[in-house]
């Protein structure tokens, strides 16, 4: 670098072309397997294209016909409501216990023993195959399954509670599984946020005689707001993708009477029955919703990262 400025500059330019070369695999694969499918999806949403019995109808261009259809036939609203209800039922206990555990694990006065063990255990369900976990719950909570027989034997209920024949039962099971699978993950994210809070604030509060409850509500929670927002919106995006658990638990039917049918199950049904027009319109709807939510996450939490990317030499000087 120090020899002659001219030589140094040309070298930098020569190196920097490698930036583009190293990006080729990512960009090529992204364009082929994500961008092109996105455009095909949008394109298909404007065509009538399905099987009626054995007869193939279309593809005929019908403009916004598919969109009109999904917004007016009531299914979309119903499945969106189902998805949101099951997400909220899982998310509320999830955020409650995550905040509680996060506060306990990071509390220097409380000093929880075996914290490593507890963290390991609560994170475990997140890695379990959702399809298997749902199948396991299906067998355990079946009408003649162990849970029902035990409860009947103990005299808690007089006859088996048919979980999948009640909206509360099947939605409750799905939400409960979502809660179990995700609260460990949320706890660890919130803990990272709590550990990032300047510890002198806690010390000052202690000196001033604040109770743990006061510290939690007056210091921890307000300072945690950006991370809470991040956790909530990413969880909502994840909730909108809810599929494996209700699909396997209810065998794709969303029992009872499609009360636990989610948006992605609906999409999956259209894809299986090769109703590509409706599947396209539904995909575009989901794309717009998740796009808006992603934008919020991007705006509030990851954009700072992009702004940090400055020309390299400036940073070296600084």
């Amino acid at each position: 670098m120090a020899n002659t400025p001219k030589k140094g500059k040309s070298k930098v330019v020569k190196y920097n072309k490698w930036g583009y070369i190293f990006l080729i695999p990512f960009v090529a694969v992204y364009v082929v397997f994500q961008l092109i499918p996105l455009f095909t999806t949008i394109y298909n949403s404007f065509f009538e294209n399905f099987l009626s019995g054995l007869k193939q109808i279309g593809p005929n261009f019908i403009g916004f016909g598919n969109y009109k259809e999904i917004f007016t036939n009531g299914d979309l609203i119903k499945y969106t409501t189902n998805t949101l209800i099951m997400w909220i039922l899982g998310f509320v206990p999830q955020i409650f216990f995550s905040l509680l555990l996060g506060a306990w694990f990071t509390d220097t006065r409380l000093r929880i023993r075996c914290a490593g063990f507890f963290k390991t255990v609560i994170y475990l369900p997140n890695l379990i195959m959702a399809a298997s976990f749902a199948m396991l719950f299906f067998t355990l909570f079946a009408d003649t399954g162990p849970i029902n027989t035990t409860m009947v034997n103990m005299g808690l209920i007089s006859e088996p509670y048919k979980f999948l024949e009640h909206a509360a039962g099947s939605r409750g099971l799905v939400s409960f599984m979502n809660f179990l699978m995700w609260f460990g993950n949320t706890t660890i994210l919130l803990m990272a946020g709590m550990l990032g809070i300047d510890s002198s604030l806690f010390e000052a509060a202690q000196v001033d005689g604040a109770t743990s409850t006061q510290v939690f509500f007056r210091i921890t929670l307000p300072l945690l707001r950006p991370i809470l927002l991040y956790v909530m919106i990413t969880s909502l995006i994840g909730g909108l993708q809810m599929f494996d658990v209700p699909q396997v638990l209810t065998n794709g039917k969303g029992n009872p009477v499609r009360m636990s049918m989610t948006l992605i199950m609906y999409l999956n049904n259209h894809l299986y029955s090769k109703n590509f027009g409706m599947a396209g319109a539904l995909s575009v709807f989901l794309f717009i919703i998740t796009g808006i939510l992603s934008f919020i996450v991007f705006k509030f939490s990851v954009q700072d990262n992009v702004d940090e990317v400055k020309p390299r030499r400036d940073r070296n000087k600084a």
């Binding site: 190196y15 990512f26 499918p37 255990v121 199948m135 067998t139 179990l180 396997v248 990317v309």
Partner: protein
């Protein structure tokens, strides 16, 4: 430390009570997390006739018999496991290698489109792949790659979330001085990446290998749309089939063994590596 103790005494009884409550809640949650897997283990080790009679907490001695029953059964479980393993292993290696390479390109070099590309990748990071599934199936059909593992492996090269994690990790561990030193020593760029930078990323690579492996091992939605051939199906598809078959006709002991078969390998690997995993979860999320 000294100050801590002082407050401890001050906190006195209140602290003890809070500690007891904390332990009770933690133990209950631990129970809630592990209970299901314990029942699964117990039930997998009991005979169909015993299972029908009722439920106990004591494992039986039928594990091996149930296992043999599954092996001799109609469901190609071992084949499914092998398929899942091939897909997950290839996908995770490719995903992690190329994501690191992409992060390296953004981290080390300066070029015009850098900020635009970085912004773009982060902006699309959260958008789920399900929304492009329709176009993806059409593409795969057009390429005549149905019933092939390729459409489940190659697309993982473009993984924005893994890229982001790697980028975050590089910020803290990969100084530019090292790359420059390698250049002065005469290494070309590819070599610098492979022999100098990659080894420095080992901890992050390990964490991401585990995560992408588990994600692909568990993935159900996309494989179910691509793989229709009985011999090509992965474990989650076979599990879902078990659910859709007339389930009451099955030997329940064998059903439980099949479920256990798909869950326990992950649990064992997780318990061996949990230190890295739990520590690694938070790293890629948000900067405090």
């Amino acid at each position: 430390m000294r100050q801590d103790k002082q407050y401890d005494v001050e906190g006195g009884l209140g602290l003890t009570v809070r500690r007891i409550i904390a332990y009770i809640v933690l133990i209950l949650l631990t129970f809630l997390c592990l209970f299901w897997f314990y029942i699964l283990f117990v039930n997998a080790s009991r005979a169909h006739s015993d299972l029908a009679r009722g439920f106990t907490l004591i494992p039986g001695g039928y594990l091996l018999k149930n296992w043999q029953g599954v092996m001799g059964g109609t469901q190609p479980i071992v084949r499914g496991m092998l398929n899942s393993f091939i897909i997950a292993a290839c996908a995770s290696v490719l995903c992690v290698y190329f994501s690191t390479m992409t992060a390296y390109a953004i981290h080390v070099y300066d070029f015009k489109a850098k900020k635009a590309i970085f912004t773009f990748i982060l902006a699309v990071m959260m958008i789920p792949t399900q929304v492009t599934a329709l176009g993806f199936i059409k593409l795969v059909q057009g390429m005549k790659l149905e019933n092939s593992f390729i459409p489940l492996i190659i697309p993982t090269i473009a993984a924005p979330a893994t890229f982001y994690y790697m980028k975050q990790y590089m910020e803290s561990t990969l100084p530019h001085a090292i790359v420059e030193a390698a250049r002065i020593d005469g290494a070309n760029e590819v070599r610098t990446f492979n022999t100098i930078s990659l080894p420095m990323m080992k901890p992050a690579i390990a964490v991401q290998l585990i995560f992408t492996f588990v994600f692909n091992w568990n993935n159900y939605f996309t494989p179910a749309l691509i793989l229709h051939d009985e011999k090509k199906k992965t474990l989650p598809i076979l599990i879902a089939q078990l659910r859709s078959a007339d389930f009451l006709k099955f030997d329940m002991g064998q059903v439980y063994v099949t479920i256990a078969f798909s869950i326990f390998p992950v649990i064992v690997v997780y318990l061996c590596l949990s230190r890295f995993i739990v520590g690694g979860v938070a790293m890629g999320s948000v900067k405090g």
